[in-house]
């Protein structure tokens, strides 16, 4: 029997817990033998004292042990790759990356979650597509990856159940903002879901969880090291989230933008991120490509149209209608026009995300339903030169009133200047 107060006290006082102790703590929690209040105190002690690399690994391993794991490698006889983002405004990257990877002949399997707050979830975006099934059994997932080359599905309740409980507890006890706890939460699910190699997109900026490049780099380092301890090759991209990614923010609008990108007609920042992430995944895959060759391969697949075919094959396999015309459309489309001529110095992602949330594109609480049709398309982004009255953004809304409110929020997101701002690349850094 572990003495939980002693473990909490040791962490509180800056000491280190053994792997056995962390395992007993976490399995005890999963079995309802260790109560929420002890975990809450423990997490707050971790917030202040941190966890060593060995502790983070042991905690992550114990969390994985609370549920089932998927061995995609054995099931498919291939090296499987996965991609994960820490969440941002307009982040539809996986929906474009998956089909390109699949088109290159590399199995892509991703278990995803739903969105809460101003950053949408990949599953919500996919559910814009009529008929699309997000719930797949493990057997269905494996079969689909084998037959259609890829799958993105909802993580079942039994994939790291301790993480679900612990995250909900951290959310209401102000203990979310701990880098080792964030790293173990993300990596436990990635490892349990069975990919051999993972590209992690760590968003940096005001619209992201990590506000500074230093924090993002620290988190990326923790996740890369955790991946290595579990024998998973992990590459982290640090990417800009000071402005929304691409132009579209909102579920069906983002699906359209992903399809456009697969047709090689995507917005430059998003297309660049998709190419970088995809090339990194291909370089990690069993194709054995060097990264420059991988990037050339991605360009080929986009140019020849096989990425779009892979997208259609995937959506069909998962029960959906891949035709863009089948996507829902909002009844009201309102244009926000520029109040002045000038350069866009900033397009703050947080108010854009909140405007989309208020239009109904996201959830304020986990029981909210999502309006797949509504959202925002940012026609002008940072660095663009605009004239007075030129359209800055389209607002796709359910009602005129909602559009008007969103216009006001959105207007505040745009900052103008007489000179163009310094260029800021989408990919800020890579940790491999």
């Amino acid at each position: 029997m572990i003495r939980v107060p002693e473990l909490i006290e040791r962490k509180r006082d800056g000491g280190e817990l053994s792997a056995d102790e962390l395992r007993a703590l976490m399995l005890g929690y999963a079995r309802d033998e260790v109560p929420d209040y002890q975990l809450a105190a423990f997490c707050m002690a971790v917030f202040f004292r941190g966890l060593s690399g060995a502790e983070t690994y042991a905690l992550t391993e114990a969390m994985i042990e609370t549920g089932e794991t998927i061995d995609l490698h054995s099931a498919l006889g291939r090296k499987v790759v996965d991609k994960h983002s820490t969440g941002g405004v307009g982040d539809k990257t996986s929906i474009a990356v998956g089909p390109i990877v699949a088109a290159c002949g590399v199995p892509f399997a991703k278990l995803s979650g739903r969105g809460l707050g101003h950053t949408g979830g990949t599953l919500d975006k996919l559910e814009s597509i009529p008929g699309f099934r997000v719930e797949l059994s493990t057997d269905e997932l494996v079969a689909q990856v084998r037959d259609a080359g890829m799958a993105i599905a909802g993580a079942g309740a039994n994939l790291v159940p301790a993480d679900k409980r612990l995250y909900a507890l951290r959310d209401v006890t102000a203990t979310v903002d701990s880098l080792p706890l964030i790293a173990s939460s993300i990596m436990s699910k990635k490892v349990a879901a069975g990919a051999d190699a993972i590209v992690l997109d760590v968003k940096v900026g005001e619209g992201a969880f990590m506000k500074t490049l230093d924090d993002a780099r620290a988190l990326a380092g923790l996740m890369r090291d955790l991946g290595a301890r579990f024998g998973r090759e992990t590459v982290c991209l640090l990417t800009d989230m000071d402005q929304p990614l691409g132009r579209a923010v909102g579920n069906a609008l983002e699906i359209r933008e992903a399809i456009a990108t697969l047709r090689d007609e995507g917005p430059p920042d998003f297309a660049e991120l998709v190419e970088t992430a995809t090339a990194r995944l291909l370089a990690l895959s069993d194709l054995g490509l060097a990264e420059t060759d991988a990037r050339a391969r991605v360009r080929d697949v986009l140019a020849e149209g096989s990425a779009v075919s892979a997208f259609e094959r995937w959506i069909h396999a998962q029960g959906g209608d891949p035709d863009e015309g089948a996507l829902p459309e909002a009844p009201v489309v309102h244009e926000l026009r520029s109040p002045e001529p000038g350069y866009i110095a900033e397009l703050h992602s947080l108010p854009v995300g909140l405007a989309a949330l208020h239009l109904g594109a996201g959830r304020r609480t986990k029981d909210d339903s999502v309006d797949h049709a509504v959202g925002i398309v940012c026609l002008a982004k940072r660095g663009d030169r605009v004239e007075q009255d030129q359209p800055l953004a389209e607002i796709h809304a359910r009602t005129d009133e909602a559009a008007q409110e969103a216009a006001e929020e959105l207007q505040a997101a745009y900052v103008f200047a007489g000179e163009p701002p310094a260029e800021r690349p989408i990919v800020l850094d890579v940790l491999a």
Copy 2:
């Protein structure tokens, strides 16, 4: 509706909470609207970040508001004094102080608790006395203080109920060791119990909650300031707990030592502490005595025997038999003898307390029962010169086997030296 995670987060990040916020938090907790896990995280944040004087006051006030309060001053039409100790090994101070104060004509009322771990509780000690009733209603308490001059009774379940719950939570979440939380726990009960003036005995040393004089001084300062904010004159004595207080450790044995002290035959350190505490209480009382006069008054009361009479009046009033012969005696009394000649350099209080606990004098868990007869009498204490084979201590036990085990523990408590140790007074400092 307060947003508890935001309050926890603000405290976590070093900010300050308003009185209204702390009140809402604590009353919400008492009403089961704020769950244990949020309080646990809050207390851990407080452990790291502390509380300001205003926050500590607001928290204490809110805790008091969760239950009933007793207005002794109005009920008795007199200034009422109280004495409290943070708990130590062999601490029977209140049982001797109360009768002396009462003998001087000053009303003394104390609500007390039971012991857990190696420091015994005053109620457990008093229950050694056959017939003694620790549970008094508020009306009975007031009547007894009026008629017999004093009372020491159990704190009812409705006196600061939030403190009971919070303390139990802190005990299992490693959040006990926070000076403002300790201060608010103690002072909430003192203020709710209604005394006008309070002498606090803050124990310092290995057998005490506060291990260092600095910590004890900090806690004393917090409690004195809290008392002042509530309009209660509060004097703090910082007293030595590196060795047991007096000679007796164990319930009935401590009652005997308290009676001996009332007869002016107590061990020097304990007698000195009793005189100091009593003189401080008299100086705070409505007698309007200067402290030197108060001390002379105490000496008189002890010399003329009226302290013993006051003790007998009190015990009778509360249903007990004040005759020493009525106290239980242990069937086995074993003498521990000195293995060598020399000076006692140290008599560590923690092993003495644990030996008494293991004999059955205390509780390991709150459901344990207490053996009132057993315990230890330390015949030799720090600074004493002993010859080889001279008795060091008496062990009062239920069985020979238990006595033998205690002897081994006790032996380890004694440290010998060729030279006498530096003198260390019982009262280390006074904060008034």
